[in-house]
Structure formats: structure tokens, C-alpha cells
């Protein structure tokens, strides 16, 4: 083997090592995401059972169910932003996309929890759903998504427990999400649904949203 062939083989070897380490790091990331989502699923199940319990035994435990729901929301929100960054860094494991869909379902479950809890316990917080697209975004759409997030996070900071913020990804091919989009005839993103009735399509300023949020 001449020096050129040997150098080529070694170069390929270095690239393979790099790819192998990359796959390893991706797998570690996936297991972390799975672990986090697994814990969120337990909390969700816990909150769901608590809701059933409250439904059967009366409203004395409403406050505790509310706290549980909030803790659940905080946790999945944190995992959501983690997964989002990790998806960008993950090259070799398409599995991470599946984890994202699972995350969207957990957020959807949180939304349903919040609706149920509000009805049963007569809470007056606002459910604010932020619908956005993730795939094939133009620069303009990406900027509008980020801005809508920032506007809603500012509102959440101001309203605190008076507002439940539920970020949902629209283009994940889930029937539950597709139904929401069809029902509210949502065509443009970002979109915001407040208390399941007020729908805003496209980037919406805080003033327009505030009018409908019981802050």
C-alpha cells in the first residue's frame, strides 16, 4: 500500500471514528430525552388520576390538582426547549423526531387537563395555546415564531398563574392536532387560541391578546 492509499485509508478511518462518536452522543441524547419524557408521562398520569379523583370525590382537592397541573406544565415546557435544541444537534437518529411528537402529545394532554380542571373547579385562568410550524420554515416565519413565543412568555411572566401557556407544534402529523387546526380553520402560523374560542392567526401583538386573557 503506497503512502497516498494509506493516508486515504487513515482519513476514512478518522471520519468513521468521528461518525461513531457522533452516533454515540446522539444515542446518549435520545436516552436523556426518553428519560425526561418518561418522567413527564408519570406526572401526566398522576395529574389525570387526580382529576378523576376530584371528579368523583368533589372539589376539596382542586388547589392541589391545579398545582400538580402547573408543575407538570413547567416540567414538559423545560423538556420541550431541551428537545428542540437537541433535535438540531442530532444527525444520525431520526428517533428524536418521534420523541418530539410524544412531547407534543404531552402538551396536548396538558391542555385537556387544564380545560377539565377549569370546568370542574371553576378556575378563571386562561388557556393560551401557541400553535407553530417547525418544518420548512422561511426566515420570516422563523422570526415570527420566535417573536410570538417571546410575546407569550412575557404575558405569562406578567399573568403568572392566571395564564396556562401551551405550545403546540402544528406540523407533526397527529390527528388530535389536525382536528384542532380544522375546527378553528387555522391556515396561518404562528396562531394563538385563547380559552378555546378566540383564534389569532399570524404574528399577534400582546395588546390584542391581553384583551382576552384573564390576567
Amino acid at each position: 500500500m503506497n503512502v497516498y492509499t494509506r493516508s486515504l485509508v487513515l482519513t476514512i478511518f478518522i471520519f468513521l471514528i468521528g461518525v461513531m462518536i457522533g452516533v454515540l452522543i446522539d444515542n446518549v441524547r435520545i436516552s436523556e430525552i426518553k428519560k425526561g419524557l418518561g418522567e413527564s408521562e408519570i406526572i401526566w398520569e398522576d395529574t389525570r388520576l387526580l382529576n378523576i379523583y376530584i371528579g368523583k370525590l368533589g372539589g376539596d382537592e382542586c388547589e392541589s390538582a391545579f398545582e400538580e397541573n402547573l408543575a407538570y406544565n413547567d416540567r414538559i415546557y423545560r423538556y420541550g426547549s431541551e428537545i428542540e435544541k437537541e433535535i438540531e444537534a442530532t444527525t444520525f437518529t431520526p428517533e428524536v423526531e418521534q420523541e418530539w411528537r410524544k412531547y407534543v402529545l404531552l402538551q396536548f394532554q396538558f391542555w385537556l387537563n387544564s380545560i377539565e380542571l377549569k370546568e370542574k373547579c371553576n378556575f378563571d385562568y386562561s388557556n393560551v395555546v401557541h400553535l407553530s410550524k417547525r418544518k420548512d420554515l422561511t426566515n420570516e416565519e422563523g422570526i415570527e415564531n420566535e417573536l410570538q413565543s417571546a410575546i407569550l412568555l412575557d404575558l405569562k411572566e406578567r399573568c403568572g398563574r392566571g395564564m396556562m401557556l401551551i405550545p403546540l407544534t402544528a406540523d407533526v402529523d397527529l390527528e388530535s392536532i389536525n382536528l384542532v387546526l380544522r375546527q378553528h380553520a387555522i391556515m396561518k402560523f404562528p396562531a394563538v387560541i385563547i380559552d378555546e374560542e378566540h383564534v389569532f392567526q399570524g404574528l399577534t401583538p400582546a395588546e390584542d391578546l391581553e384583551k382576552h386573557i384573564k390576567c
Partner: protein, 409 residues
């Protein structure tokens, strides 16, 4: 995705060249430091082309006096290439002042370095032609060290181990690190017979080969690279004498460095254009190695900086658009700014290649006594190569605009 592919392709080529040199090092490191004996001392004609060198030429000649080479076998030819300063007078005085035996001074109409060298070759009477720059200082054994490597008729040229004579300014230190690395890579390239330059500070040639291939190309801005390619194309070998130390003056300011490198880069394009039709030629290093690698070198630096600038401008534009929109919505664009970055396989690969490159740099430093300042190495690794991309861009622009002048002095 397209940028990832570009990144990986560039990284692949970089890794290949680093691995080639590391391979050559491990295969030949025993041979590099083998002491050779000079059995016969052949006569040499040492040609010094000089154009407006009044500041340095006297010092160069003073040091030449101390060269360890038999005076009866050393002919020194200074070719004043139509200097407009006192170069000619200073050399004339130095002949009597230093009593340098065998020194001949000629003057001619200005025609560029290559024409001065060809003029000197015509005047030279010996079978070996040593060429040195007027601002270079030879170690006393440099010529003997070079001559030890003419061990077969196939060896048409031997080049030397060049370092910076001044290392005070930042730019000189950068160039000295560069020269230290080049000294090792050039020696290693000898074993693959792909030495791509016989640099001006000191190279020795067989006169009959120079005559046979037509001497130096007077139209080329880097005649020392072009002649090396022509020698290899003609089927000869070039060797490097690691023990032949030469100290040369290099630009000590950014402006001078830039002008010199742009000139070299234009010369590189000229040489590439001249030999591009030889690509794929299996019987010599030019077509099978030097032409493809110089093409890869130029295109990598241009594509690399192009992608880098495109992404930088795109990100800056995005942030600007985001900021404008944020302000129009009454938001602070910096309030939710995050600088999170996750390690992915591209970074791992980049680091792997970086560490293999460090091996080569470590080898270069281990063979030299000079130590750089602590911050010189990171700057040399991360900033200095980026400058070359801009140099190449500027050179391509100038080349296609037809500005192919000497650019210095």
C-alpha cells in the same frame, strides 16, 4: 444540509493532507536526521539578484564572507536588476571592504527577479547554481549541507531550511511558525517527490537542468515555485536539506505581509493555469499531485470563506430583522437571547482533525529551538489561515483584472 456537505468535503481534504504528512513522518523520520558526508566539493556559482536592496545588501555580503565553502570553488554573482537606489555602489564598495574573493557584480536593465536570475545563470561558470535572495543570511554550512543531497543525477535541485531572521513583530512570529511547519512538511514531501517550491532564500540547481528546461519563467510572479513544477514535470527530483539553515527577512507589518502574499497567490494562479492541462498525468508529481492539490487549496479557501461569510451575514441579517420586528412589537430583542450550542459529530470530526494537525505542529516545534508567545499558536491556528482566504480572493480578483505586477517596492 449543503453547508454540512461542503464542511465535510473540506475537512476530508484537510485530513488527507495532514495524514499524508504524518504518514511520511513515521515512514521516514529515521532518514531525516541521517548525517551525510560530502565526498567531493563541487564548484558552485552563487547568484544574488538585487533590486533596490541598499538597506540590507551590505549585511548580506558581510555574512557571505563567512560561508564555509572553499573560495576557489565558489563564484558569487550579484546581479543588480536596474536598482534605482545605491545598491550597485554599495555592492561595489563591499567587494573591496570585505575582500570577498570571486565576487562579480553585474548590472542590467530592470526586468524582474527571474530575468536577473537568468542573466546570472548565463554569466555563471560552474555546474551548480545556488540562488539566494539579497535579504537572506546563510548559515555558514548551508551550501555544503545542500550539496550533500545531490546524490544522484536525478536530483536537479536542493532547497534549504528557511526561517525568519527577525522575530520581533507579530507578523514575523506568525511567519516563523509557518516556516517551521513548512520546513518539516517540505522535508517530508521530498520522500513523495512532491516538493512544490525551491524558495528564493536559498536553493541550489544543476545548471545543465536549468538550461535544458529553459531557465526561470520571467512572466511568473513566483518563479521559484514555477521552476520547481517544471523540474518535477521533466522527471527530475527535488530534495530538501534540513541542515541548510537560511534566515530571511519577512514582512513585519500587515500591509507588507498582505502585498507579498497576494503576489504569491497571483503567482500560484499563474502557475496553476500554466500546468492545469497536465492534470491526471501519471508519470510526474505535477499532474497527479501538485495541480489537483493547488486547485483544492484555492477552491477550499474560497468556498470555505464564502460559506463562512454567507452564514455570518445570514445570521446577522436574521438577528437584525428579528430586532427590528421586536422593537415594533415593543419587545427587547436581547431579553431572550440564548447562546446554547450542542456538540454534534461535525464538531467531533473537526476536533479530531484539529488534534491530528496539532501533532504536525508539535513535530515542527520539537525540531526548532525558538518558542512562540503563548497566544501566537491559537492565533496562528484559528485566525491566520482565514486571512489566506481573503488573500486568495484578492489575488483572484487582481489576476482576472489583469493586475499581475510585482506589488512590492
Amino acid at each position: 444540509m449543503i453547508f454540512d456537505i461542503v464542511y465535510l468535503v473540506l475537512l476530508f481534504f484537510a485530513t488527507f493532507f495532514i495524514m499524508l504528512h504524518i504518514n511520511l513522518w513515521f515512514e521516514n523520520k529515521g532518514k531525516i536526521f541521517l548525517k551525510k558526508k560530502l565526498k567531493i566539493i563541487p564548484p558552485i556559482s552563487l547568484i544574488i539578484p538585487a533590486y533596490n536592496e541598499e538597506e540590507i545588501i551590505e549585511e548580506t555580503l558581510r555574512k557571505i564572507k563567512n560561508i564555509n565553502y572553499p573560495r576557489n570553488k565558489l563564484e558569487i554573482i550579484v546581479v543588480d536588476d536596474g536598482s534605482t537606489d545605491r545598491t550597485y555602489d554599495i555592492v561595489k564598495k563591499a567587494i573591496t571592504k570585505f575582500r570577498i574573493k570571486g565576487l562579480k557584480l553585474f548590472t542590467k536593465k530592470n526586468g524582474g527577479k527571474a530575468s536577473a536570475l537568468n542573466f546570472g545563470i548565463k554569466k555563471a561558470k560552474n555546474e551548480f547554481i545556488a540562488v539566494m535572495d539579497a535579504d537572506s543570511f546563510l548559515d555558514k554550512n548551508a551550501l555544503k549541507e545542500c550539496m550533500k543531497h545531490f546524490d544522484s543525477d536525478e536530483v536537479a535541485a536542493v532547497t534549504s531550511h528557511i526561517l525568519c531572521s527577525r522575530k520581533k513583530s507579530f507578523w514575523e512570529r506568525m511567519q516563523n511558525i509557518e516556516l517551521m511547519i513548512i520546513s518539516v512538511t517540505r522535508k517530508l514531501e521530498e520522500y513523495a517527490n512532491v516538493i512544490w517550491a525551491t524558495p528564493g532564500p536559498l536553493s541550489v540547481y544543476r545548471k545543465d537542468v536549468l538550461k535544458k528546461i529553459g531557465g526561470f519563467d520571467e512572466k511568473n510572479l513566483i518563479e521559484d515555485v514555477e521552476i520547481a513544477w517544471r523540474i518535477l514535470k521533466s522527471g527530475y527530483k527535488i530534495k530538501m536539506a534540513f541542515g541548510a539553515l537560511v534566515y530571511s527577512l519577512y514582512p513585519n507589518s500587515f500591509k507588507r505581509w498582505w502585498r507579498q502574499r497576494v503576489r504569491w497567490s497571483i503567482g500560484g494562479i499563474q502557475t496553476f493555469s500554466k500546468y492545469k492541462s497536465t492534470i491526471g498525468g501519471k508519470h510526474h508529481a505535477v499532474g497527479s499531485f501538485l495541480v489537483p492539490t493547488s486547485f483544492i487549496g484555492y477552491s477550499s479557501s474560497i468556498i470555505g470563506i464564502g460559506v463562512f461569510l454567507y452564514l455570518l451575514i445570514l445570521r446577522a441579517f436574521d438577528f437584525f430583522a428579528y430586532s427590528l420586528k421586536s422593537f415594533s412589537f415593543g419587545l427587547d430583542p436581547f431579553s431572550r437571547l440564548e447562546f446554547a450550542y450542542y456538540i454534534d459529530f461535525k464538531i467531533i470530526l473537526g476536533l479530531l482533525v484539529f488534534f491530528t494537525a496539532l501533532t504536525l505542529i508539535k513535530i515542527s516545534f520539537s525540531l526548532h529551538k525558538w518558542r512562540a508567545k503563548w497566544y501566537d499558536i491559537p492565533i496562528f491556528l484559528f485566525i491566520y489561515p482565514i486571512l489566506y482566504s481573503f488573500v486568495n480572493l484578492h489575488a483572484i480578483y487582481k489576476y482576472y483584472k489583469g493586475e499581475r505586477g510585482w506589488l512590492t517596492k
